[in-house]
Amino acid sequence: MSLKHILKIIIKHRNISVMILIQIAIAVTIVGNASFISYGTLKNWLIPSHLDEVEILNVYTKVFDNQVDKSALIQRDLTNLSALGEVTHVTYASNELVLATVTGSNLVYKTIDQEEAGFENAQFDVTSQGVATLSLAITQGRNFYPNEFVFAEASHNRYASVVLISETLAKSLFGEQSALGQTIYLQRARRPYQVVGVYADKMLGEGAVYEQQWYHSTIVPQAHFGNNNVNYLIRVKPGTHDGILKDVEDVLYQQHGRIVERVEFAARAKKRLWDGRSTFAFIMIGISVIAITVTGFGIIGLVSFSVSIRQRDIGILRALGASQHTVLKTLLLENALLAFVGIVLGSFTALWLNNYFVTHLRAQGLVEPWLAVLVALAVWLLSAAAVYIPVRKAAKIAPARVTKTS
């Protein structure tokens, strides 16, 4: 039979055709997204952090007593934490902590133009030991001078005037031009800062990576206080054991009017982040396995039904000179056409859903063209394999079937 005849038969049997097509489209949608998310998660996990994950601590505390002088509290905390034997550097962190999931307005802009979209950015507001705590290697320009640090009540609206930026961010903003001396604008308020140095990339912030922008970070020599959150970044000596977590907590509890919410290594923060994301990826893989199984059996069932109601027609084709091979080829081609349309539809749905996941659910895993092709091919092969079982049986329908009505 020619393609024309096959298409006519598909249209005549449109109910079954549409059901097969939808099954395949759903499978492509689910498996496609599961693959994108799983691959994205795996790929991101494998990107090196260049970070001393077991030498940096994130410390989260909350001051519940409004009578506490936070400026004095922070000064005392910095002194007390520095006094711990294993601690080498400590900084008050009034914005982000390492590998913490920050949602909000940590954007960086090249101009003051309100139309500019800006880049996602991990912004670290630190005190004097901030650069040392994060162990940043300045590759261009200089470190901060002591007089450039601003330590002020948040309500006073005092801000630093200089900033250090990562190499990748410098390239994103200025391309091959030097970033030194350039002015950048931070957060939605678009406050201006002059770039005085560029440091080697480190994976510091997670606010950025949701947008697939890696190593985008800035270090600002300003530390604002006033709200209830009082957080620190601590660098400890290599080989320091977990006991340091309790020691830090004990030191912090020496100051009244606060609770210590969490003290953890950057490695733990990273693991928690990726655990959450990989769980989502595993759930997607599980759903896609179910989808593939259901699709496979669904196709077998639908094609078996389709073939069963066309036994007489297949018998006629055999009597008219179609060999088993011809019948097999015709039915496989018919289903390959359905699979093709289903895959095209499913691919568009997958793209739309992927966009939704990435935009609204902050899922990892943008569309990878080669992976999309691989998924399409895999689903096509699956559908062909599923179709083959009933179709092979149909091809064996005896041509003598046509005389049974006599």
Binding site: K8, L320, Q324, T403
Partner: protein
């Protein structure tokens, strides 16, 4: 053109063996019109299936145009069926999802004919059966007699050497049956060999030769003797 020697066909179940055909010897010359009659269960359909290469047999030899069909595989049998045999069935056996043009075109595609050649043959055969203007109609839009004429057109478009008709008028009223028979006789007069299986003795009388199947054996009614191979 057709020669069967000692053909036997046995249907087996767990409990019983049924000898549908026993040592059948049969020969057909080019251009003959042969009617095969017999009561229900006598083996007519089995005989037709084997003659039309729709079914295989256990014993004996069958040569079609000098080719021993017992040595052929499914692909070769299908090709032979497509090229040399035309079928007309009691139930018409048209494909309901396709229009008349497509129904006639399908076996020609199996033959590998070009689109132009197919078109010419389809139009000619439809004209011949008086359905020239209805190529785009579907079988369900036609009467039984018209459907049978389409089936004849489909068979003729392949220019077969051998036309097998299984109760071709069985589902038709008297008027339609007469028209279809006249058409078949005309086709035979033009040189196509015709083998017709029928219950109707009156129709059978119109054939050159009248064969009866009884208990799996063929008997020449005119001679009232078992059909023997003409060597």
């Amino acid at each position: 053109m057709l020669r069967m020697k000692n053909i036997s066909k046995i249907y087996r179940t767990e409990l019983v063996e049924t000898h549908a055909l026993s040592d059948v010897n049969f020969m057909v010359e080019e251009g003959e019109f042969i009617a095969v009659t017999g009561p229900s269960g006598s083996g007519k359909t089995t005989f037709l299936n084997i003659t039309g290469l729709l079914e295989n047999f256990e014993q004996g030899t069958y040569e079609l145009d000098g080719e021993d069909v017992s040595t052929l595989d499914d692909k070769q049998l299908s090709r032979l069926r497509n090229e040399k045999i035309g079928f007309i069935f009691q139930g018409f056996n048209l494909i309901g999802d396709l229009n008349l043009y497509d129904n006639i075109e399908v076996p020609l595609i199996f033959r590998g004919l070009s689109a132009k050649a197919r078109k010419q043959r389809i139009e000619e055969s439809l004209e011949l059966v008086g359905l020239g203007g209805r190529a785009s109609h579907f079988p369900a839009q036609l009467s039984g007699g018209q459907q049978q004429r389409v089936a004849i057109a489909r068979a003729l478009a392949g220019k077969p050497r051998f036309l097998l008709a299984d109760e071709p008028t069985g589902n038709l009223d008297t008027l339609m049956a007469r028209q279809v028979m006249e058409l078949l006789e005309e086709i035979n007069r033009q040189g196509t060999t015709l083998l017709m299986v029928t219950h109707d003795h009156e129709l059978a009388q119109r054939a050159h030769r009248n064969i009866q199947i009884l208990d799996g054996q063929l008997r020449d009614i005119n001679k009232n003797e078992l059909v023997e191979l003409i060597s």
